[in-house]
């Protein structure tokens, strides 16, 4: 088995003082191993909650979430998770942070070096997180999540806090890593451009409670051209679920 993710008839509600709040309703997902899937939606639509369920961080819900057929009951090394904030430990160096989840052993140092190289942080091994830029810290967080060779990599808006330029660089990086590590990736994002650029399939979550309102397959070759009409055609399809379309005003010049 190779990182196949399935969600069946999932309903999730939070309980607060003002009564239960439905967050997700009737979610069904099937992701083959090695695919790159994005979950797109407004903030508060429940997409991050869904990702946390896949990670095993949320366990109170109806329905089943499975990894390679086994129900997901708690977090484990099979499921790598990258948070929106990098969550590196400020008192550890970059190398110590990346190696944090690795078991002690002779090959630990070699594995850390390999990961540092993979995410392009060579030369920053001894730096502390406070000395890194946002993009570099997020690279270190990705390396930490990849360290234990998870079957599925769960990314919770990992580039949400980065500037637009860095974000594009990081998208290239994550694609490279995905192609090299052949890991299943589930990416939560509110950036439609990012979702279409990266994924094989985009799941559009909308409404309250959140439901999957559309599954948009992105059958474009890679590398993708963000400015091509095919690319924008797919983007427009997804935009429709969130924004009303604007008719271009009729105008002509002589």
């Amino acid at each position: 088995m190779n990182g196949q993710v399935a969600v069946e008839n999932l309903n999730k509600r939070f309980f607060s003082d003002s009564g239960p709040l439905e967050v997700l309703s009737q979610i069904n997902i099937n992701i083959s191993g090695g695919e790159f899937i994005s979950l797109v939606g407004h903030s508060g639509c429940g997409k991050s909650t869904l990702l946390r369920i896949l990670a095993g961080l949320e366990t109170e819900y109806e329905g089943v979430a499975r990894l390679d057929g086994q129900p997901i009951l708690k977090p484990s090394l099979e499921k790598g998770f990258v948070f929106q904030d990098h969550r590196l430990f400020p008192w550890l160096t970059v190398a110590e942070n990346i190696g944090y989840g690795l078991p002690k052993g002779r090959d630990k140092a070699a594995r850390v070096a390999e990961l540092i190289e993979l995410v392009g942080l060579t030369g920053f091994e001894k730096h502390r997180p406070s000395q890194l830029s946002g993009g570099m810290a997020q690279r270190a967080a990705i390396a930490r999540a990849l360290g234990t060779s998870p079957k599925v990599l769960l990314l919770d808006e990992p580039f949400g806090a980065l500037d637009a330029m860095t974000r594009i660089t990081m998208q290239e990086e994550i694609l490279k890593i995905w192609e090299k590590e052949k890991v299943t990736v589930v990416l939560v994002t509110h950036d439609i451009d990012e979702a279409v650029y990266l994924s094989n399939e985009v799941l559009v979550i909308a409404g309250r409670p959140g439901q999957i309102v559309s599954r948009v397959e992105v059958s474009l070759g890679r590398p993708r051209d963000r400015l091509s009409s095919d690319f924008n055609h797919i983007k427009r399809k997804i935009y429709r679920y969130f924004f009303t379309e604007v008719e271009p005003p009729f105008a002509f010049s002589i």
Partner: protein, 270 residues
């Protein structure tokens, strides 16, 4: 930028002018000492002109002379050494106990449930209120002083250790869960370093309290130490001795606090 520099920038709208090596340092030192120096000058002048009765407040010059005399006959250094020794002993004892109990209390809900009420009642009792019992139980020897210092230093270290560990960022807990970090390793590598800044500030307050307590304990039952010097001065109606002892307490307290502050910045480098 340090917090102080940031505040200065906020207030004036421009970053503080960079300090040139000698000029800046010297000016900063002058500003630092200006107020106490001016106070001393006024005090000395008023004493010389006879505005202040020497039996109420001896002049700085007289206090200095008493100080030099008591250094020359080794009585002051001996008193200082005795008090510092008591503080170090009592503080180390208190700090180790408070750290151990604090870690257990913060990590074990059951232990916390059983001990909370007791600690809540003991905490508000001022260390000075323990002095009669300390003398009754332990006599007027060293152990009663150590006991009072222990009481004074224990609670700040204990409380800060518990709250430092309790307020560990839950986001780090999630990271540890996702990486399947064993509990022991998590405590050692995340909980304790994460709580370190709060624990260190507890140690600093504890040391400060220990210093206050040694003087209090020595004032009531002792035959040596700074507190004894102070009480001795009172009984012999020698206000110069009293004020000398007070100044020594203040200066040594400041120096130890500076040392601990330096230790803090050395240990917490992130």
């Amino acid at each position: 930028m340090s917090g102080k520099a940031v505040l200065a920038t906020l207030k004036s709208g421009a970053p503080p002018a960079p300090l040139t090596f000698l000029g800046g340092r010297a000016r900063a030192l002058a500003q630092y000492l200006a107020l106490p120096a001016a106070g001393l000058a006024i005090w000395q002048t008023a004493s010389t002109l006879g505005y202040i009765a020497p039996y109420a407040l001896p002049s700085p010059w007289l206090i200095l002379r008493t100080g030099v005399e008591s250094v020359a006959d080794f009585s002051l250094p001996r008193d200082i050494l005795v008090s510092v020794g008591r503080v170090v002993g009592g503080f180390i004892l208190a700090a180790l106990t408070a750290l151990a109990l604090g870690i257990v209390t913060a990590l074990s809900t059951r232990f916390e449930t059983y001990t909370r009420c007791l600690f809540q009642v003991l905490k508000p009792i001022p260390p000075i209120a323990w002095i009669p019992i300390a003398i009754l139980w332990l006599g007027i020897g060293e152990s009663s002083k150590l006991f009072i210092i222990f009481i004074g230093a224990f609670f700040p270290v204990f409380i800060n250790t518990v709250s430092g560990i309790r307020h560990i960022d839950p986001r780090y807990v999630e990271v540890a869960r996702v990486l399947e970090i064993p509990y022991g390793k998590f405590v050692k590598t995340v909980v304790l370093p994460g709580a370190l800044p709060v624990i260190l500030s507890g140690l600093r307050i504890g040391l400060n309290n220990a210093w206050i307590c040694v003087v209090a304990a020595e004032m009531i039952a002792a035959t040596s130490g700074i507190g004894y010097l102070l009480m001795d001065g009172r009984q012999l109606a020698q206000p110069d001795k009293v004020i000398l002892a007070m100044l020594v307490v203040g200066v040594i307290g400041k120096i130890t606090d500076d040392l601990v502050a330096r230790l803090e910045t050395g240990l917490v480098r992130w």
